[in-house]
């Protein structure tokens, strides 16, 4: 037969053999292939080409399978044994297994929840195709004194200039946003839709997919609009919206129509740009009546600009270009600086006063990541402590394994494998827990979170990697510790219980570390809550209780005084006041001249609001000097009330009667009639600055947006009905929108209360994990010491001294942990508080209280088992029949 093969030389099919060699290669594999090829040639000669071809590959596949099953089978025998022993051990020590698995599961769940949140936060704006090359233009201007403008406004003309002269920019798209509008479609009317005015290049910069319409065309004509899918359903129901018309009442004054030219997919949750409707920007420019809104000069700042730089163009080059443009406009002197902010940084790294929507904050991302890691560490420490403690009961198993030929390496592998197995069980449990808890957690952090296993490639490998990693960290020490047992020691039962003596062994170190983290988190939580409380109850300078706010009163236009007059009739309303701004939300900044001329080197601006005569009484603010506006004095339309900071800053000796000119109020000059005590008209994050108030009607464009009503404490629901009816009488078909001021105010500090809640939740989990770990450990040790306790009792020890004996070491450790946690927490808390202009003071009581709580809970956990052990009848533990 072999002779036949020599007749021709036939080359066998190469690819199969190549793949085979890739998958399996040792010194024999190549001869195996040549052997198969020998036979192949014979078959090729005898039969046809295809049959031999099939035969050849069949042989290769079978050979490969045999090689693999053979090697797997040999290792599987041991694996099966390891698995069996691991399960037996889990079953034998039910309590400890439960503590291990449950503790790890809670730890993993916490980390998972936090990770989901973090991944959601950092996923912002990354869905745009060109996300790497998109930048937002910011403007930074520093002037005299503490004057600084840091904002997004850019002139409309910038886009034209860049398009014409700067080829480094691939595309530029500008957005104009104005909040106060009324959108009508037949009978349906909606207030304050998020409408963005933009240009066709919007779709070149961003990847918002159009369902209908051509992105080149949809926004090119004036009065055209693109609507999102959901908004289209809201306005037009099932009908095709393309070609339909909407009417928009801009700033509740200027009305125009738009025709729908396209439908766009809803904006994803993780986009910092949000809109329901896109209107072509040329709708609101190029005409007389829009001159006030969209002027075409270099000093206007209505638009937000986004640019896509060409591939290879750096951020520095882009900023250089912007600087060139700025120099061509303002050749010398102090000029603003335009900077580029990468799109991906916008959500987490924005510290601008203006911006669309709420921002995330990178600090919290770091903070939460640290917490996630800390919790996993705590859970792993439990595992390490419990497994080393229980290990003595497995000493014999290790001895026998070594006698039977196991190397130390094999035993390390076995125990690491066991740790990974326990982690896997915990992970499965954790995934179930996460599914269950995610809705609650989403609610807590205020964003819609989901765990999607298959949408992102990294989820499943990440989870597997996570299990391997935590299994490794939890198992590495027990594995080395256990594998080091000497055979003879173990089998002769002379194993000294190493690591048990002395205070400074590893286990004590780990317990200390664990409680250090726990105490740190608890102190942190208390300080965050204290700061929150500080926001709520610090001397704000105004009241926020029992105040109802009616929003959007500017929609009533001239009817506001009528509404106020009608409302005053109710006996259940104490005071009411209309204004453009509410305290706590910040006022608008205006250039002013205090006295006859500008004061050199000072920031000549005031934060301004416009309000009516009862603002002071409604919010219960206090005057420091002079008087507030009065109905009886008609000249009060040219009067201004300033705060104490203004007096201080501009060094006004006798402020009453002095004059202030406000540029933005048509250069009107006001006389100071009073000084109001400083109140937090801005967010508590920022210091109180110079502030001024004038009467409604003094600003050319401002109409009061809010009516604030101080209610009496009785008959609230009746008063609500009354307010509702009164509103309906004067409103042009809009529904009443109201909120309670204290709730609004709390919402201002959402980020802080979110942090507070999340940290509180995870500190509780951390302490829970630490405590069950400690509980398990002491329970195990108490069980081990039953004989010792019995002997001691027989010799006359009482229960208290026995508990004392067992507990004091741990309590000592926990106290030390707390003491170390103090400076660490103090440092961290100070860093966190830095961001607030007004911070709570950190005093020692916070530390003492939280440490007391930690110590108390741990004493309870430790004593629970030891007291039981101490109270057992020595007869039971000593009898040995």
């Amino acid at each position: 037969m072999i002779n036949k093969a020599r007749k021709k030389s036939i080359t066998p099919p190469e690819p199969g053999a190549t793949i085979f060699r890739l998958l399996y290669s040792d010194e024999f594999s190549s001869t195996l292939i040549s052997d198969i090829e020998d036979e192949y040639r014979i078959i090729y000669a005898e039969k046809n080409k295809y049959a031999s071809y099939i035969w050849y590959h069949h042989q290769l596949i079978i050979a490969l399978l045999s090689v693999f099953t053979d090697s797997f089978y040999r290792s599987a025998i041991m694996l099966k044994n390891y698995f069996k022993i691991a399960l037996r051990n889990l079953r034998r020590n039910k309590v400890y297994s439960f503590i291990n698995i449950f503790g790890l599961a809670i730890g993993i769940t916490s980390s998972l929840l936090i990770s989901i949140y973090i991944f959601d936060e950092i996923s912002y704006d990354r869905f745009h195709e060109k996300a790497d090359r998109i930048y937002r233009i910011c403007m930074d201007f520093t002037g005299d004194g503490d004057f600084r403008i840091h904002q997004l406004g850019t002139p409309r003309i910038l886009a034209t200039t860049i398009r014409e002269k700067y080829p480094d920019v691939e595309t530029i798209a500008q957005l104009y946003y104005f909040k106060w509008t009324l959108t009508k479609c037949g009978e349906k009317a909606f207030k304050n839709e998020t409408i963005l005015y933009t240009e066709p290049d919007f779709f070149k910069v961003f990847s918002f997919p159009l369902i209908k319409g051509d992105p080149e065309v949809v926004l090119s004509e004036p009065n055209s609009a693109v609507i999102t899918r959901t908004a289209a359903e809201k306005y037009f129901g099932e009908e095709d919206p393309v070609g339909k018309r909407l009417s928009i009442l801009f700033n509740m004054r200027v009305e125009f129509d738009v025709t729908i030219t396209g439908i766009v997919e809803d904006v994803p949750e993780n986009s910092h740009i949000d809109f329901n409707l896109l209107v072509s920007i040329n709708t609101i420019e190029d005409s007389e009546r829009w001159n006030a809104v969209m002027s075409n000069n270099w000093y206007s700042d209505q638009c937000v600009s986004y640019v896509t730089l060409r591939e290879g163009v750096t951020l520095d080059r882009g900023e250089e270009m912007l600087m060139e443009i700025m120099h061509s406009v303002v050749p010398e002197g102090n000029h603003p600086v335009w900077t580029l902010q990468p799109l991906k940084d916008i959500h987490l790294h924005t510290d601008l006063a203006t911006g669309y929507g709420t921002n995330g904050n990178a600090i919290y991302i770091y903070l939460f990541s640290v917490i996630a890691v800390l919790i996993i560490i705590i859970a792993c420490i439990n595992f390490v402590n419990l497994s080393t403690a229980i290990s003595y009961s497995r000493a014999r198993e290790i001895g026998i394994r070594k006698v039977a030929g196991s190397l130390r390496r094999d035993i390390i592998k076995q125990f690491l494998g066991e740790a990974v197995m326990i982690c896997s069980i915990s992970l499965i449990l954790a995934l179930l827990l996460t599914e269950f808890l995610l809705p609650f957690f989403s609610n807590l952090v205020g964003s819609q979170l989901e765990l999607l296993y298959f949408q992102q490639w990294y989820v499943i490998p990440g989870l597997i990697g996570f299990v391997l990693l935590s299994g490794f960290f939890a198992g590495i020490y027990p594995a080395f510790f256990l594998s080091a047992f000497g055979i003879t020691e173990v089998l002769k039962n002379t194993l000294s219980k190493r690591g048990k003596k002395g205070l400074f062994n590893l286990r004590n170190g780990l317990i200390t570390f664990q409680f250090l983290i726990t105490a740190f988190l608890i102190i942190g939580t208390m300080i965050v809550y204290k700061q929150l409380d500080h926001f709520q109850n610090n001397r704000l300078g105004f009241d926020k209780d029992r105040i109802l706010i009616i929003h959007q009163t500017d929609a009533l236009d001239k009817q506001v005084p009528v509404l106020k007059e009608n409302l005053r009739r109710s006996p259940d309303i104490e005071y009411l006041s209309s204004s453009t701004f509410l305290p706590g939300y910040g006022f608008w900044n205006f250039g002013v001249r205090v006295g006859p001329q500008l004061i050199e080197g000072k920031n000549n601006t005031l934060d301004m609001t416009v309000c009516d005569h009862d603002y002071l009484k409604t919010f219960n603010m206090q005057m420091a000097e002079g008087r507030f506006f009065s109905r009886d004095i008609s000249t009060d339309t040219a009067a201004i009330v300033i705060n104490e900071k203004t007096v201080e800053y501009f060094e006004l000796k006798n402020p009453i009667g002095k004059r202030i000119t406000v540029w933005g109020f048509n250069r009107k000059t006001f006389e100071i009639i009073g000084v109001i005590r400083d109140f937090h008209y801005k967010s508590m994050h920022l210091p109180i600055r110079r502030m001024g108030m004038t009467l409604s009607g003094t600003h050319p464009h401002w109409i009061d947006q809010y009516v604030s009503i101080k209610l009496k404490s009785e008959n609230i629901s009746k008063t609500l009905d009354f307010i509702n009816n009164t509103w309906d009488e004067v409103s042009p078909g809009l529904k009443l929108e109201y909120t309670f001021f204290d709730e609004d105010y709390d919402r201002l500090y959402k980020a802080e209360s979110l942090t507070g809640n999340v940290i509180a939740l995870f500190s509780c989990l951390a302490i829970l994990i630490s405590i069950i770990g400690l509980f398990g450990l002491t329970a195990y040790i108490a069980e081990q010491k039953t004989k010792e306790i019995g002997v001691r009792k027989v010799l006359g020890a009482n229960a208290i001294s026995i508990v004392n004996l067992m507990v004091k070491e741990y309590i000592f450790l926990i106290c030390i942990a707390n003491l170390i946690a103090w400076p660490a927490a103090f440092y961290a808390a100070n860093r966190w508080l830095e961001q607030f202009a007004y911070k709570t003071d950190i005093n020692i009581t916070v530390f003492i209280i939280s440490s007391f709580v930690v110590v108390l809970i741990s004493i309870i956990a430790v004593c629970f088992q030891t007291i039981r052990a101490a109270n057992t009848d020595p007869v039971n533990s000593l009898r040995n029949e």
């Binding site: 001869t31 195996l32 040549s34 052997d35 036979e39 090689v67 053979d70």
Partner: protein
């Protein structure tokens, strides 16, 4: 008693029978002839490999031949331990079959 699986036993015997021409291709033919079944190369290769690891056979590379594309064959030779194992197996087999009443399979 040296432990051998049936496959190993068959392969070992085939090597001994082939003497100087014992490489994978004839070994497989030999085993197929004796057992009357089709054996894949993989099925031969595993016991061969295992026999070598256990120290029952030795392998060495033959001369390169043109029709194998310049690659040489791996020849196998039974070692002394292998012969002892065979002898032992034969002894056990013989002992097992001795004095067994005649039977026939219908």
């Amino acid at each position: 008693m040296k432990l051998l699986s049936r496959a190993e036993e068959l392969v070992l015997l085939a090597i001994w029978r082939l003497q100087d021409n014992a490489y994978c291709v004839p070994i497989r033919e030999q085993v197929q002839d004796v057992s009357g079944k089709e054996w894949t190369f993989g099925a031969i290769y595993i016991p061969l490999h295992r026999l070598e690891k256990k120290g029952f056979v030795d392998s060495f590379m033959g001369n390169a031949t043109a029709e194998r594309g310049g690659r040489s064959k791996r020849y196998y030779k039974v070692k002394k331990r292998g012969l002892q194992a065979l002898a032992e197996i034969k002894k056990v087999e013989k002992a097992m079959w001795d004095g067994i009443p005649e039977f026939s399979i219908e």
